[in-house]
Structures are given as C-alpha cells and as structure tokens.
C-alpha cells in the first residue's frame, strides 16, 4: 500500500488540476454564450444568401461560367478551420481526420489553414500548406473572410486551383457539433436546385435578375463564398467553445472521482498506521511486564 504521504501528494496535485479544468470550463461556458449568439445573429443572412444563390442557379438554366463549370485544374484547395488551442476534446482532430480520410488525394490538396492546431497536424501528415490565417480565428470578422475569399478566388481565376472545399465544425447545438467538408466551388448545380426556393409552397412570380444571371453570378458568387467562409468561422468558434466546455466538464468530474477514491485510500492508510502503532505500543508494554 502506498504511503500516506504519497497519497496526499497525488490527491493535492489532482485537486489543483481539477481547479484548473473547472476554471477553464467556466471560461468556455461564457465564451460559448457569446459565440453562440453571434452564430444565431448571422443565421438569417446565410439562409437568405443560400436561397438567393440556389434560386438563381435553379432558374438560370445553362450557365457558361467557370464558377459553375470548373476550370480544369486538378488542384483542390481546402480551407480548414480548427482552433488555435487544444484541450477541446476531439474538436481539432475530428476536422483533421475528416480531411485526411476524405476522398481527396493528398497530392492534389493545398490546405489553407485557420487555426494552429490544424496546421500542425497537416504539417505532420505532409500536406502542402499554402497560407496560414490562424490569427483570424481568435475573433472572426467579416472582413477577414472577405480577404480569404479574395485570395481563393484569385487563385481560382488564375487556374492555380480547380476546386475549393471548406472543412469546419457545424454547430448544431451546445452538445452536438459535427465536422463537415463542404464543396464551395465550382458550385454544384444539382444540389443547388434542390435547395429551398419558395417557402410559401405556392407559385411565386418569377424572379428577375439585373444584371443578367451570368453577370449577377459573377458578382454574387464571391459574396456567397465569403459568407459561407464567415459562417464556417463563427460556427467553428462556437463549436470549439462548446467542445472545450464538455471536455473540461468531463475532466472535472474525473478529477472529483479520483479525489474521492484517493481520500478513501488515504483514510484507510491512516487507520492502518494508527492500528499498527497501537499494536506496537501494546506489544511493547506487554513485553515489559
């Protein structure tokens, strides 16, 4: 049996770890509230954006635009959103796994990383990393997403990349977050038509576009990409805080359990040592008589 002093030392070390995880849990709970609110505020914008682009693609018939047809390049850009910090359960590794285990071939992929953890992991796996935007994820702003999408679309227009994907964590609710890989460009027409175009269900007056669809597409698609990237950023941040909160909650519970166990062991050891001492004293006095 371990000595009393050893048990005591372990117990106090676990106690301070428990205190840290508890504090981290509280911090991420507060952050979660804030980031969740931000995600909720933006939802309306994205829903509308998605609907407009869908109805545009659905209505436009044959569109001869590189945003729809692709440009023939085999390179695939993956925008990967992870956290800058660890201790968030499977949050970071789930996104990494999603990309490394996807159908995308390693040789074809260029990764644009947001988040240090993702970049480190992709480096280890030997992926080509184009640029790092980890600073953006601390406090995502719409202008950040604009900058990123401009860079991406420039490379797309130059034919350096032929497809653009987004890997992020979808924030379903506080406890459920699922990593998602989404194709941004070329826009998938088949999928777009399925999208909701009319929520009333009845016949609506046909939508007109000014300028004409193709030109409008040229102008709207960059905004569409930007808004999806921005949405991915804020949902991921909310998910990160949610994941960290859960992970830290589990860690705190585990620490408490261990402390209980160790306290029990400590008390046994103490009792044992008292009994032993008594036995020794009695034995000693008996020997004197």
């Amino acid at each position: 049996m371990a000595s009393m002093r050893d048990i005591k030392r372990r117990r106090s070390s676990i106690q301070s770890t428990g205190q840290i995880t508890k504090a981290m849990k509280l911090v991420s709970t507060v952050k979660l509230q804030r980031t969740k609110q931000a995600a909720m505020n933006s939802k309306g914008y994205f829903d509308y954006m998605y609907r407009t682009v869908s109805s545009m693609l659905g209505k436009a018939g044959e569109i001869n635009h590189p945003y729809v047809l692709g440009n023939g390049s085999t390179k695939k850009a993956v925008v990967m959103i992870t956290g800058n910090r660890g201790l968030a359960g499977g949050y970071n590794s789930n996104v990494v796994k999603l990309v490394t285990r996807s159908e995308l071939k390693k040789e074809d992929v260029v990764v644009y990383t947001l988040g240090k953890k993702g970049r480190e992991a992709m480096n280890r796996y030997g992926y080509e990393i184009s640029e790092d935007f980890s600073g953006m994820i601390d406090a995502p702003e719409y202008v950040d997403a604009m900058r990123l999408s401009t860079i991406l679309l420039n490379s797309y227009r130059n034919g350096e990349i032929g497809e653009i994907y987004l890997a992020y964590t979808n924030f379903k609710n506080t406890v459920v977050h699922e990593p998602k890989l989404m194709k941004l460009l070329p826009v998938d027409k088949a999928e777009a038509i399925e999208g909701p175009t009319d929520d009333a269900g009845g016949p609506v007056a046909p939508m007109n576009f000014e300028p004409e669809e193709e030109e409008a597409l040229e102008l709207i698609i960059p905004k569409y990409i930007t808004s999806i990237i921005y949405g991915g950023m804020i949902e991921s941040v909310a998910s990160e805080n949610g994941a960290r909160m859960q992970a830290m909650d589990n860690a705190t519970t585990n620490a408490e359990e261990m402390i209980d166990k160790l306290t029990l062991q400590y008390n046994r050891a103490r009792q044992g040592s008292i009994t032993q001492e008594l036995t020794e004293i009695i034995a000693g006095s008996q020997a004197q008589n």
Partner: protein, 134 residues
C-alpha cells in the same frame, strides 16, 4: 404619409446583425444598373448594390451608407443583404473626407501602378459616407 395599403416590409441584414426591420412606402438605393426607387408591388427582382445612399421612407425618412451587397425585391417585401452598411452616426466624416481626397488624387495622377477600379470604389464609398452625413 405611411397609410396602410401602400407599405411593404423592409429588412436589412448584415452578416453580424439585423440592421433594420420595419415598414416603408419607398426605398431608394444605388445598383450596378443605376439608382432605383422601389414602391410596393414591384416586379420581383434581384439587384446588386453599388456604393451609395440607402433611403428608407416610412413613418420618417432614414438614411444609411450602403456599400456592398445585393437586394431581393418581392411584391410585398424588400430584403437587403448588406455586406457593409453604416448609420450616419457610425461614420467618421473626417476620415471619409480624407479618403475622398486620397482617391481623387490617385485618380487624377493616373499613375499606371494604381488600381483604378479600387480607387474608384474607394471614392464612391467616401462619397456615399459624406452624403449620408449631410
């Protein structure tokens, strides 16, 4: 002015917030095809924004500087998806004036290195800010 019957719903949303929501009799803004005004029962249309002043006429007249985004016009509602939009009290007039001068200088110098399109947008943006302030 805003009698019921000729008002429609107007909603201005940005990526971060709902900027404005209410009833209006008319909205005016600048598009790639020129400045337009929208009344109730307009033909359904989607247009792209160019920097300019957004004027919402309802109970009273509200103005804002609208820089980019697009608008979905339906018969009984107008939804503006604005990437960048500001109320007059969010604008720094001195900065806008400085930006205007800078853009004008860039455009008159005709330096082959300057990005003309960018300078023009910057100028349009500054002008929109200044005219909203007035």
């Amino acid at each position: 002015m805003a009698e019921s019957g000729n008002t429609f719903k107007i909603k201005v949303i940005t990526p971060d917030r709902t900027f404005y929501e209410g009833d209006a009799t008319m909205v005016e803004f600048n598009t790639t095809e020129g400045a337009i005004g929208v009344y109730k029962n307009h033909v359904p249309m989607t247009v792209i924004i160019k920097p300019g002043v957004l004027t919402i006429t309802g109970e009273d007249v509200k103005k804002a500087a609208l820089h980019s985004g697009f608008v979905e016009i339906l018969q009984d509602s107008v939804t503006i998806l604005a990437e960048v939009i500001e109320w007059p009290d969010e604008i720094d007039e001195m900065r806008a004036l400085a930006a205007k001068e800078r853009a004008e200088r860039l455009l008159t110098e005709r330096d082959p290195k300057t990005d003309i399109a960018r300078a023009e947008t910057a100028l349009a943006r500054a002008m929109a800010r200044i005219s909203v302030k007035k």
